[in-house]
């Protein structure tokens, strides 16, 4: 009896081992090749080849899978963007049907929207747009109820793995605490990219996000520009164990150092909220009545600081970070002096796009650091960020 079962188990085991390869890098055959012309869209080719504009995902998937074995084929990162001269792989109508019927289950685990920050809404919307563009992605959204709730995020990630998630786009609540969880993703051969807040893990293929230090530096330099050398500045900080926050603060100090500005006080609070920023601003203004500028790590805190300054009858240079709608409006109205715009939608879009690049067999093509860009928003250019 036992002798019969053991070989059977071995055969089943061997079959199981081949499964991931089957789903990830199915050998794809091109019915024909196509070279991209001017004014081409994937949907245009799709209509020509398959009689429907919505069958285009198959072309993108087939081209990328082909690229993995033959780099003369193009690598499509964003299905909305193809360039003249790219070589596309057009699968047979039958293969196209199979490719289009495949579902790629991707989880986007961010730090909102429970964190009370509209920023995360934009990240999620960006992710949804990218998922829609790929046509074959089922994108799930999750987030711990608070930005610092590491344990809940770990639980969400582990649960997602058991329910068959194939790719992870992650905004890490902590630099290192998620590492052993991410190791499980590695073991399951599920690709991971981090967005906005990095995890210090070799598992992730790329960190896609704002260079927070560069943004912080813009804050500091703008204070220098407005107030000149020796400006007296208070820093309103947040949860410093998060890499993104620590980078912002370090960047702001670097920017302030360019004009020898004085950091007269640094205070921090973990809720990153309007109420939190307001209280710290009150305390800074009391302890340092000569303070001229306040730099906050996000817009909620900056708006709170602005309310505190108004109540105290003071006009301070207050600079936020994130370019949330309310903050940009305040900048335009002359309330906040400036805020830093990130491209949160880009984080969502890039996150999903690069995971799809990995899932079509091209993980090695992914750069380990992808910048989504920062910009200083002042009264002069606020209109274009509203």
């Amino acid at each position: 009896m036992l002798r019969k079962i053991v070989p059977l188990l071995i055969v089943i085991g061997a079959l199981l081992l081949t499964l991931p390869q089957v789903t990830h890098a199915a050998a794809v055959a091109c019915a024909k090749d196509y070279s991209v012309q001017a004014d081409d869209w994937l949907s245009k080719s799709s209509e020509k080849e398959f009689g429907s504009t919505t069958a285009y995902p198959a072309i993108a998937l087939a081209t990328n899978m082909k690229h993995a074995e033959d780099s003369s084929y193009a690598l499509i990162v964003d299905p909305n963007r193809i360039e003249v001269g790219w070589k596309l792989c057009i699968p047979s109508a039958e293969d196209a049907k199979t490719l289009n019927a495949t579902r790629y289950k991707i989880l986007m685990d961010t730090k909102g929207p429970g964190s009370g920050n509209p920023f995360w809404r934009k990240v999620e919307v960006g992710g949804d747009d990218a998922a829609k563009a790929w046509g074959v992605v089922t994108l799930a959204h999750q987030a711990p109820p608070e930005e610092s709730d590491v344990q809940t995020q770990i639980k969400q990630l582990e649960d997602a793995l058991t329910t068959g998630t194939q790719g992870l786009v992650l905004a890490a609540t902590d630099k290192v605490a998620l590492n052993s969880t991410l190791d499980k993703y590695k073991a399951a051969n599920v690709p991971v990219v981090t967005i906005d807040s990095d995890a210090d893990s070799p598992v992730k293929l790329s960190f896609i996000g704002t260079d927070n230090k560069a943004g912080g530096k813009l804050q500091g330099q703008y204070v220098c520009k407005l107030l000149g050398a020796g400006a007296k500045v208070g820093l309103i900080e947040g949860n410093l164990t998060a890499q993104s926050i620590a980078d912002r603060v370090a960047g702001a100090k670097e920017g302030l150092a360019t004009c020898n500005a004085n950091v007269v006080k640094e205070l921090s609070e973990g809720t990153h909220s309007i109420a939190g920023g307001q209280k710290l601003a009150e305390d800074i203004m009391t302890a340092n009545p000569d303070v001229q500028a306040l730099i906050a790590i996000n817009d909620n805190q900056a708006l709170g600081a602005l309310a505190a300054a108004k109540a105290a009858g003071k006009t301070l240079v207050i600079i936020g970070y994130d370019a949330n709608p309310d903050a940009v409006k305040s900048v335009a109205e002359g309330g906040l002096a400036a805020t830093i715009a990130q491209r949160p939608a880009n984080m969502g879009i890039f996150g999903v796009n690069w995971i799809m690049v990995a899932l079509t067999g091209n993980a090695k093509e992914i750069s380990n650091r992808i910048d989504t860009g920062t910009a200083l928003v002042t009264k002069e250019n606020a209109a274009q960020f509203q």
Binding site: N117, P118, P145, E146, E237, L240, S268, D283, A287, G304
Partner: protein, 349 residues
């Protein structure tokens, strides 16, 4: 107030004025001494370490008077729960839900006063759920229903707001939460002494509840239920009714805090009140209430709250590094509570 340390239900109100000696006097003002020592300590350290005197200034005291009020109703609600030997973990989350409901109502065009009433109703409803779950479902301890409410109310808040803050509230909120009354001058000038309106609201609230707890039948029943539920039951008090009332009041008080905070921050914030239940509990315990119920008074709670406010503000003014602040707050809570225990033990002998 007049009857700290004893069960008001057991002592006729009139005899309270008589002091039973120095010990009782000390017990009444002891918590005040702790506060004064704390203030003196921070002032001295600031003078020695930084060479400044910002902490002990009129501006800073009106500063603290603006920072405390929104937490005060929560501490009061927490006090009612602890008075009945219970606890209300949900005050912070209920504050957020009430804040979001009232601000959303105001943005939808509901006039300010009805919008505030909506907030109060939401708070009271959460409290009612807590109270009824405790008394009707017979859950073993208020810890359980209020713990559940922590998540329910916070989740509903996020659902209502989609997780994003809503800016701007009607001026009536602003007056309540951020207005000032200037003393000695008809119009406010930069030099006039400002008393924050929310501080006045809170003082009135505490005086009102002080009178309610010690001078009305229902108020004394609350003490009795906490002091000895069996005895209370045998003496004909409807214990379940009193308990439900206590949690409804706690919920409604959290909503009062929500209205003050909405006015202060000019917004509705889904993150508001995270961790505030711990501040409230700390204030109540520092203020001399007993976890076993039946002991404590609103004056003590108020001073407990001021102590918590002074600690946070003082450490900020001193510029203590943020991570050390967390440690310091914990140590100070431990010290003050220990001091209170020692004080009571000496009184008894």
């Amino acid at each position: 107030m007049s009857q700290s340390g004893t069960t008001p239900a057991a002592t006729p109100a009139k005899t309270a004025v008589q002091l039973r000696g120095l010990g009782e006097l000390f017990e009444r003002v002891g918590i005040l001494i702790v506060l004064l020592v704390l203030i003196a300590l921070i002032t001295i350290v600031e003078r020695l370490a930084n060479g400044t005197a910002y902490f002990l200034s009129i501006e800073n005291f009106s500063n603290i008077a603006r920072q405390i009020p929104w937490q005060a109703p929560l501490a009061l609600g927490e006090f009612l729960a602890i008075l009945t030997a219970g606890i209300d973990l949900s005050v912070g989350s209920v504050l957020a839900l009430a804040m979001m409901s009232t601000v959303i109502a105001a943005h939808a065009g509901v006039p300010a006063i009805p919008a505030m009433l909506i907030g109060l109703a939401v708070g009271a409803a959460c409290g009612a759920v807590n109270g009824l779950a405790l008394t009707r479902l017979r859950l073993p301890h208020p810890f359980i229903p209020t713990l559940a409410m922590v998540y329910i109310a916070r989740g509903l808040t996020n659902l209502l707001s989609n997780g994003t803050p809503i800016l701007r509230v009607p001026w009536e909120f602003r007056v309540l939460g951020a207005g000032n009354v200037c003393l000695f001058t008809f119009e406010c000038t930069p030099t006039s002494l400002r008393i924050p309106v929310p501080f006045i609201v809170v003082v009135l609230l505490f005086v009102g509840f002080g009178i309610f707890l010690t001078r009305t039948r229902t108020g004394r029943h609350i003490y009795a239920v906490g002091g000895n539920p069996q005895a209370a039951l045998y003496s004909g008090i409807n214990v379940n009714k009193i308990l439900t009332l206590v949690y409804i009041l706690s919920g409604a008080l959290a909503a009062v805090g929500a209205i003050l905070l909405a006015g202060r921050t000019n917004s509705g914030e889904p993150q508001a009140g995270v961790g505030t239940e711990l501040v409230a509990i700390a204030a109540v315990i520092i203020g001399g209430a007993s976890f076993f119920g039946g002991r404590g008074n609103v004056f003590g709670v108020f001073i407990g709250l001021v102590i918590m406010g002074v600690i946070g503000n003082g450490l900020n003014i001193l510029g203590v590094q943020p991570f050390w602040q967390q440690v310091a707050i914990g140590v100070i809570i431990l010290l003050v509570a220990t001091l209170d225990v020692v004080r009571r033990r000496t009184n008894r002998t």
